[in-house]
Every structure is written in structure tokens, then in C-alpha cells.
Subunit: 314 residues, 2 copies
């Protein structure tokens, strides 16, 4: 049996054929055509699935289901997207619409939850039943797995750890609150922190690094730190401390087996993961009496959402 | 069938006979004799249970089980207390010891979890399956119920929402971290905040209220505020804002049906609950598209732990 994973984003929609072991047989992406209503977009998705089937030599009728990840509030029980800012959707009966358009059984969930589900089923934390995936990107996404099941709260409205307040009355967040974790721990926040350090330490090599890379990115401070730059080290240490603050909160609340770190920043590897694991476990209540919470880099990269979406219907 | 609930504290141990509907047939308390090892304390508990049975005319052999709540890290699966600062216990096989001493089936859990379980089974949130109980006392305790089951993380080491950091690098907490929620939202924190306001506003009526009550308590600022005192109102507003900050975090992460507020402070009723419900729901992500998270006062008072402990074995 072959399954389809769909990862809907504000700009592109990733679509792939995935087998029962989580391997991608064929995948591509199409543009998210916002000039169309949701039914038009679903037709685009179905057309692309047929294209992928041709390409991979898969019979369309052999598809066991279509799983879809969507940025926004998705009630995974009813398959309705109650709200997606990125797509401009409100109360969209996504699963119903997709089943009508494709003639195939469908499921839907929030995109961060799909990524967590993908890592849980086929990635870094296959052997564990209690894990949290954190995605450090434009914002901070989170997916929570408890006893082998996706947890997202009543009406799937929970699982938004990025909007934990860690600095009361702190930086203004897009969500309306102040001091949310994602204002400090997202990749976007790291870029702002790097820009600030460039101004504060004009003699640091941060600017040279950024020029060489062509832009100020989430990598800039890590590269400078690796070269021994004091300003780069300060940015990296503070940033890791911000990430750790939210992870300690999640650790004290959930005490999972592991917290998986995804998003582009997770490519920094040991320079990020090792200090995080140390700080987090030092911050957990009665940590010397409890099993360690492991911190692990995500292993499916930017395909986690697509693979996890497909795994929704396996 | 009759069940026994035991709520072990650092000073006293509350013990009660509870029926299947959560009604207490007889209860009392004994001193926590810390000069004894855990086996001695368990013998004291069993002797008291026999006393209560005599008192209530219950046959000791009709007891269906003994549930115990303990302050500290209790692995509810194994019945072992890995650590309790209040009792000075470490790796105590509580359930095994109690079964040997009593000849009756036993279960154990963290005391805040027992209180949450009691409120869920017999108190304020009987009709809901996803609830969080917060206890505002010396610290801030929490018990989490997901889909009708107590959730406390791997090895029962989770469920410690009181140690969420809400003010990064803020006040020093006893746990070693800085800026934990309980440093701002506990009853003890409210008393400190009231004392500070007394110094800042010597002309306020806070001091008169405290003198009349015989001490500065968690009630002082609420009474002054009710009488129109500006300083009292400021203390109450800031305090409610601190509680709301942590509740918003829990709301965005769990989106439960309700959050139950227990502990002495919850006796303030509507003056506490109504502004909390408003602030919390205003702070939740995409709140206009999601069901409201209700904020409700606990209804079992200081017997919730005892009743919930008994409910562990029902």
C-alpha cells in the first residue's frame, strides 16, 4: 500500500508518495495558489498526486489514504481547519473536501503535529513513546506525543508551546501576547539577536561571516562562534539559554523521554544539542532522581511534515 | 465497598474512609512522626485506619483499597517515592510497604495529582475529560488530566507546572531555577507582594486589615481591595496577572476544557475567578476560533487530596 503525504505551506505545497516504512517513492511541490478557494487548491493537489503516481509507476487506486498537514488550527477529529492565517482559511472542511475531490480516505492535522508524528514514526525517536518535537523556524512550532498518541488538546487547539510566556511583559509577539518563547528562540529571533550583536560589537567578525554567506542568517553567529569570535559566542550562548528556558518548562510539565529539535537551526548539531541537553536536565525538578530527558536533533529534515502527514493514514 | 484515602503532608497525615460516591464517612489526622522511618509511619497509618473503621462501624476487611498522596516525586506505576523533600524520603517502596503493613491493595501518586483526581472524579469538573488543577499554596502545585487519565510524564516526573519559568532570570526559586511561576503566583508570593505594598504605600489600609486579621495573609490584599483601597487593588491585579500568565501558558499548550483553581486563595471566588477567565481566554492563540477554557474554583477544599487518593483505588 502507498500513502500520500501533503504538507501545505503559505507559499508551496509539498506532496509525496510514501511507503509503509516511511520511505518517499516520489515527491515534488506545487505553488500554493491563493487566488483559488480551498476547493481549487484541493484539485491542484489531486492533479499533482496523479502526476506523481504516473512518475513512480503507482496505480492511483492503490493509494491507501492521504494525510495533510496545515499551518493553523486543525481539528484532527473532524478534519476541519478552523483557522489558518497563512492560507486565509476559516472553517474549511478540508478532509471532507479532499475525500470528495480524490475519492480517497483522508486525515488532517496541524503541520507541526505532522512533523512530530513523522519523527516519532520514522525518525529520531522511534523507540520512545513520550516525545515533544520543537521546530525552530520563523516561529517556534511544537508537536506533543504522549503514550504513542498525538496530543493537541480540546478541539486540537493546544500544542502551541511556542506561545509560552517566558519573559513576562517582554518582547511583543505577533500573537498579541508579550514575551512568548518564539520571540526569543525562533530562527528569526536568532537573526535579530545577531543583528543587535553586530551593532554592539562592530569589531567582531559577525559582519564578515554574513557577507561571505551573502546574508545574516541563523548560521552567522554559530560560524563566528566556531571561529572563536567573542560576540558570536555571546549570541549563541544567549540563544541556547532562551531555547533551554522553554525546554525546561516543557520538561518539568511533561517529562518526556526526549525533546526533538527540528528546523534549520537544528543543523548546527552538537554545538546546539549538547549544551541544550546539559542545561535542560540541570533545570528539571529533582533531576537526580529521575530519568534524563534526552535532547535529539530531528532526522527527517524538511520532509518530516510530509512523511508524518502520510503516517496519519497508515 | 469502602476505600481509604491518605494525604501525607510534612506535618500531618489526613486519613479518611470514603465511599464510592466520594463521600467521607469518617476522617481525622495524625502527626507525621519524622523520628520514625517510613515503615513506622505506615504502621501509624494502618493503626489509624483501624480506629476510623471502629468509629464508623466499618469492617476493616470490607476496605477495597488504600490510596496515598505524597508530596514529592512518586512513580505511580511502581508505587515508589523516589524523592520527597518534605518527608526526607528517598527511594521508598511505599505501596509495597503499605500492602505488607495493611494486607490491603494500595496505590500512590503525587499529592497534587491526587487533588486533581479528586476534583475530576467528585468535584468541580466531573463532566469534563481534559482538566488541569492548579493549587495556590506555599508553592504552586499542578495535576493534569488528559482524556480522563492522570498525566504525570515518564516515571511520574512531570506535572510540575509551578516550575515553569515565566520571568527569565527573575526571582530565585527554592528549586534552583530563577523566575518560576510559583515565585509569583503562590499564596506565599501574594503575602510577600502584600508586604512590599505596605512599605510602598504606608497610607493604605493594608496594615489595618492585617492587624484586624491578626496577620498578613493571602486574604489581606483582597479584603483591602474590596474596601476600595488603591494599594490593595494594585496587589490583587498584579497577582491575578501573574496567575494568568502561567494559565495562558498551560492553555496554549493543553487547551483543556477547564482549569480548576484550588488552595486557600481560591476562596476569594468571583474576585479571583472572573478576571482570570477573561485574561486567560484573551491570551489564548486564535481564541475566537476555539472553545473557551473555563476557569473554575475547586469545590472539595482541603479534602480533595484525601478523596482523590481514595479514588485511585476505586
Amino acid at each position: 500500500m502507498i500513502y500520500v503525504g501533503v504538507d501545505v505551506g503559505g507559499t508551496n505545497i509539498k506532496i509525496g508518495l510514501v511507503d509503509i516504512k516511511g520511505a518517499i517513492l516520489a515527491d515534488n511541490f506545487i505553488r500554493t495558489d491563493k487566488s483559488k478557494d480551498y476547493k481549487g487548491i484541493l484539485d491542484d493537489i489531486v492533479a499533482d498526486i496523479k502526476l506523481l503516481c504516473n512518475e513512480a509507476g503507482v496505480d492511483y487506486h492503490d493509494i491507501g489514504g492521504i494525510g495533510v498537514g496545515v499551518p493553523g488550527v486543525v481539528d484532527s477529529r473532524t478534519g476541519t481547519v478552523s483557522y489558518s492565517a497563512n492560507l486565509g482559511w476559516r472553517d474549511v472542511p478540508l478532509v471532507h473536501g479532499l475525500e470528495v475531490a480524490s475519492g480517497i480516505h483522508a486525515e488532517a492535522a496541524n503541520d507541526a503535529n505532522c512533523a512530530a508524528w513523522g519523527e516519532y514514526k520514522f525518525g529520531s525517536c522511534r523507540s520512545m513513546d513520550n516525545v515533544i518535537l520543537i521546530t525552530l523556524g520563523t516561529g517556534v512550532g511544537s508537536g506533543i506525543i504522549i503514550d504513542g498518541r498525538l496530543f493537541d488538546g480540546v478541539a486540537s487547539a493546544g500544542g502551541e508551546a511556542g506561545h509560552m510566556i517566558i519573559v513576562k511583559d517582554g518582547k511583543q509577539c505577533n500573537c498579541g501576547l508579550k514575551g512568548c518563547w518564539e520571540c526569543y528562540a525562533s530562527a528569526s529571533a536568532l537573526i535579530s539577536q545577531t543583528e543587535e550583536a553586530m551593532k554592539k560589537y562592530p569589531d567582531s567578525i559577525l559582519r564578515n561571516v554574513a557577507e561571505k554567506e551573502g546574508k545574516i542568517s541563523g548560521r552567522t553567529a554559530f560560524i563566528a562562534a566556531e571561529k572563536g569570535d567573542k560576540a558570536g559566542k555571546e549570541v549563541v550562548e544567549n540563544y541556547i539559554d532562551y531555547i533551554a528556558t522553554g525546554l525546561i518548562n516543557l520538561g518539568n510539565i511533561f517529562h518526556p523521554n526526549a525533546i526533538i529539535i527540528g528546523g534549520g537551526v537544528s543543523n548546527e548539531g552538537a554545538a546546539l544539542i549538547e549544551p541544550l541537553e546539559e542545561k535542560v536536565n540541570a533545570g528539571l525538578l529533582a533531576s537526580e532522581h529521575n530519568p534524563k530527558v534526552r535532547i535529539i536533533g530531528a532526522s527527517l529534515g524538511n520532509k518530516a511534515g510530509l512523511i508524518g502527514a502520510a503516517a496519519l493514514v497508515m
